[in-house]
Amino acid sequence: MGDIVLVEGSNQLNIALIPIAAEEEALIYESMSTSTTGKFTLGQTTMVKVQVRNPNDVAVEEVVEISGIGFSELSDNPITITIGGNSVNVARFNIIYDAIGTYTIYCEDLSTTVEIVQGEEVPGLGGIFLVGPGEFYELRDTYGTVYGTAEVTPSNCCFYGTTFGGQTCRNAGTFDYDVWVGYLRNNAAEPDAIYSGEYQWSQMLGHYYNWQASGLSLDAFKAAHPNWDILGGMEMWFLSRIPAYCPFTYS
């Protein structure tokens, strides 16, 4: 017993079938790698590559993001990539390692572990110092090059092993050099201060992260904080040039 009844003669039944929508298959995160392998030097920049496969017939856009600690991004993160149908594409992230230790970088189900160590180069006396005055900082490298706009003079610059203001620059922590920060502008009575390299480094990174998190362009940041002009620029310079010049690497 069925549900249609055919009568004598011709019976016509036209029908339209509904296609089953093909299910979109999940993208496959195939691999994650760094442009170099092994131990990494503090301040070293490298590229992290994440390869993603699209098993579907149609192209898709995918937001790829890496996470973890021990590094800062020098390029956008996350990154949106377009992956053609049944093909692969690679998301590339430029990062800088900014803390000693063993860390893992994650992306979806992928991960890669890196060991970040102190750089082998030990500079001579002088090195790079952060100096005052005031809220303005400058950097001077071993070769005497000054980065920033304020002139560094012997009176406000301290070299490792020398004394200034009755205090001796010293190596108090794991930095090869400590950082001397000059007296504050408009407050000559403020005692000179010597901060550990670790402290100053953390301060620098803190400023940088704050700036980065603000979502402002560097120009906008400078406009909003005119007194931070040098500082903002220095931070960017600091992070980008440290691999080549930083002598007070962690030990």
Binding site: M1, G2, D3, I4, V5, L6, V7, E8, G9, S10, N11, Q12, L13, N14, I15, A16, L17, I18, P19, I20
Partner: protein
């Protein structure tokens, strides 16, 4: 056809089984009528989205099986009038049963 115009499908159609059904008011390119006292069933299967004919659809009528041609057409001939089970199946499409 009894009245010579309309297809007479006694459709106890459990409509909504994933198919769109329509009964032609006038048969086009209809096959020759069956002998007196006999029945036939014919029709065309199309894609509900594109409207294109679907070939290779397995059409089963009480165990009798035919496939649609490239034009989506099918036909069962020399049948006894009466109630039947009718099924349309094709990979990639929702199966329809009457």
């Amino acid at each position: 056809m009894k009245d010579g115009k309309k297809a007479a499908i006694g459709v106890g159609v459990a409509a909504g089984l994933g198919a769109l059904i329509y009964v032609a008011t006038r048969a086009k390119a209809a096959p020759p009528p069956p002998p007196p006292g006999r029945a036939n069933l014919y029709g065309k299967v199309t894609n509900a989205i594109t409207g294109n004919p679907i070939g290779g659809v397995l059409v089963s009528l009480n165990g009798l099986k035919v496939s649609t041609n490239t034009g989506g057409n099918y036909i069962f001939e020399d049948l006894d009038p009466g109630a039947y089970l009718l099924r349309f199946t094709k990979e990639g499409y929702e199966t329809v049963v009457y």
